[in-house]
Point group: D2
Chain length 242, copies 4
């Protein structure tokens, strides 16, 4: 799997096969034989640059049927929990696999990501997406996380579920001492219930946050924050087993 | 190196030596023989929990003489650039080594972080901090990055410098196709100059952002955003070599 | 001039004449004879409530060919400058007259608003808008404020101009001791120049602000900030003659 | 009552009496005979400028024993409700009288502000504060607004109370058609209950907002948002009787 970028900057995800666009086609041999940085030519002479697929490029272009957590939010999860190489992560629900891709991209060969998804169609898409990005450390499980967590010695349990509190006890058992639970929720009522359950069950350092992320526009007319922005995505709640 | 946490939740970073607090002392043997999850007892019977030192715990407790980029900001860098296992990163200036620690924590054994710091005293502190966290993939270089970048095939060049534009040409040469430059700057004038230089030198996808990060407080009195927050830390600017 | 509201909550501004809608018509006599709170019936029996036209209702429905400062921004001007009954205000440029309407609505019979507009077409629209809202204390002047301010003893000079600094010296002469200058500008470069000129010319308490205004949505699904919001409108700069 | 400002910019509220500072004293005759713009001299020759007391100057310097709604929030109330000359306003609870001062400052001689305060000590302070600012259109009532509203034909009912929903039915009866209710509350739970009660009782255009207000700092070092800001003050909820 690689990204090809045309002369206008438009990106395409291209598997090991002949590649057709409105700028002509590139042969399977050329595609398969290319490496990042190469420039490929179509049969009518248009140029495509081969780019190493960054996880965000990949997520942007991959198949998905549901909304995706934005980098601004997943980034807070990565930095607050100190996710690193070798970590063991539980992710639920998988959705199209975007967070699992971010986690798998980081934890490396010595780490492992287990991603639970209750909907079979989503789990199938996610499996294809993980395979396409060639991650060997992510296991998509078509399983209901509210019925239990099979893994142990986890560093992070990340929950993007309507009722994350249903999983809090399982998370407590499965986390290492020092491990984190993190949840993403659009509504403040979810944060309220989750915080109460986390505190009751004995998690420490229970905190919630939101992130107002603005683009800054520098043009010849002047500099200002972008007029378009998302007013809200979700709240992030963190807690720790200590 | 490990974190010990007392009964009040206060954390201490403890090297391989006898540990003294106002709750009594723990012998060197007990300290050295402990592993995450253990509970150690002082000579007067007070309990300390041993915790695997998360990178944020470590940064909070380590030696430093300068301000540190907050998780809210470093998280955006991690997520936007898709930093992952095996990546090759240049970091400058090092400061106390907080960003180098975050990067090193992620890129793993197959990745590498080169961190340039022009001030010798900072470089020495950073070396000790990296060593203390037992990262083998981070190299602190007491060197002025504005005089050139020696490394090649980089995935990310991260700049926390007053004049990041001085490094943009070197960054362009040293980055892989698809690689990112990211910069953290407190002032909008820095963003303006940096964006202009990045565009002039031929970087793509030049974007700047800011991140307004609020804690949400859930107490018995009610739920609300925290009244204390930072109004501003820094702007983040990203660009890509395509 | 009055507002009629139909059964769906849609509002119409209605002058002293027969009123036609897709719900039928109301006779001129009924319209002219109505007062706030009355319910009028169309010839096919549909009901319209008569509402006292609030300044915001009026601005929303009035004729305009340019963008309008939002209540979130004009409100800061009102509150920061302590605008009150009897104040003498200069407003430039008028645009469609929205800020002049807000100011005129507040300063009352003993106050006065002078509004300068360099474009004749805008000045004509603004005159009609002021007349329609029946304000007698607002004078629209088709005049270039950068050529001078004729009025004296002003409490507030409000500038919504690309280069407000051109007017700062005139403003200083025309303001009372204790009076305010306030400016609305989309770009940070404008704020920078304006602040420097204000300080150089001897204004005191020079301050700039921005206002991130979010709707909060309370529905059966839950409570959260609205996902749609303006990321930026303009910066507000204030200074005082002391 | 007038404001005297010393050479450092420090302001003093001065009644009709001899004025003493660490820069010497000014005689009662000089004080009483002064008008805005005059410069008074102390017996040791230090200068004080006489300033017309703006409502914000006055609120800043007046006696108060409770927190005060900030201009950023009261401004939204003024602008969203279109408060103007001649309006009839109910305000509760009064506190030190800051909102009553803002409202009284605007509605003028033809308007009227009724301000209910259940605590006698606060009501007494507020009476003195209103008298000191020489507003004749504000009546402070030592009365519990949750027991009923005596006034009718109101344009605005403003509530800064822990349980504003207790007053919603009274407000509905007392407001004019087209009139507004507005409430200021720190907690989201208050917003949730209030919105539900407002909708149930038949108010229209029920909306809630928050306002993140940042200072922008322009110095020789550069331009940036101020690092200090309030993360939260209160939510503002509006509804209308239509």
């Amino acid at each position: 799997m690689r990204i090809l970028m045309d002369e206008r900057g438009k990106k395409y995800m291209v598997a090991d096969q002949e590649f057709h666009t409105d700028f002509g086609f590139i042969t399977k041999d050329d595609v398969v034989g290319s490496k990042a940085g190469d420039v490929l030519k179509t049969h009518i002479g248009r140029l495509f640059r081969v780019i190493k697929p960054n996880v965000n490029d990949y997520i942007e272009l991959m198949e998905r049927k549901c909304s995706i957590i934005l980098p601004k939010d997943i980034g807070i999860v990565l930095a607050k929990t100190g996710l690193g190489s070798g970590f063991r992560v539980l992710d639920a629900g998988t959705g199209a696999g975007a967070t699992a891709l971010h986690f798998g991209n980081i934890v490396g060969n010595e780490g492992k990501v287990y991603s639970y998804e209750v909907r079979e169609d989503f789990a199938e898409i996610a499996k294809r997406n993980i395979k396409g990005f060639e991650l060997k450390n992510v296991q998509i499980k078509h399983q209901d996380v509210t019925e239990g967590i099979e893994e142990e010695e986890l560093d992070l349990v990340f929950l993007d579920l309507p009722k994350p509190w249903d999983v809090v006890e399982y998370a407590k058992e499965s986390l290492k001492i020092g491990g984190y639970i993190a949840a993403y929720n659009p509504f403040i009522e979810q944060v309220q219930i989750l915080q109460r359950v986390l505190k009751k069950i004995g998690f420490s350092e229970v905190e919630s946050f939101e992130n107002i992320f603005r683009g800054i526009e520098v043009t010849n007319k002047g500099t200002r924050p972008k007029t378009r922005m998302a007013g809200h995505t979700g709240y992030l709640t963190f807690a720790r087993k200590l």
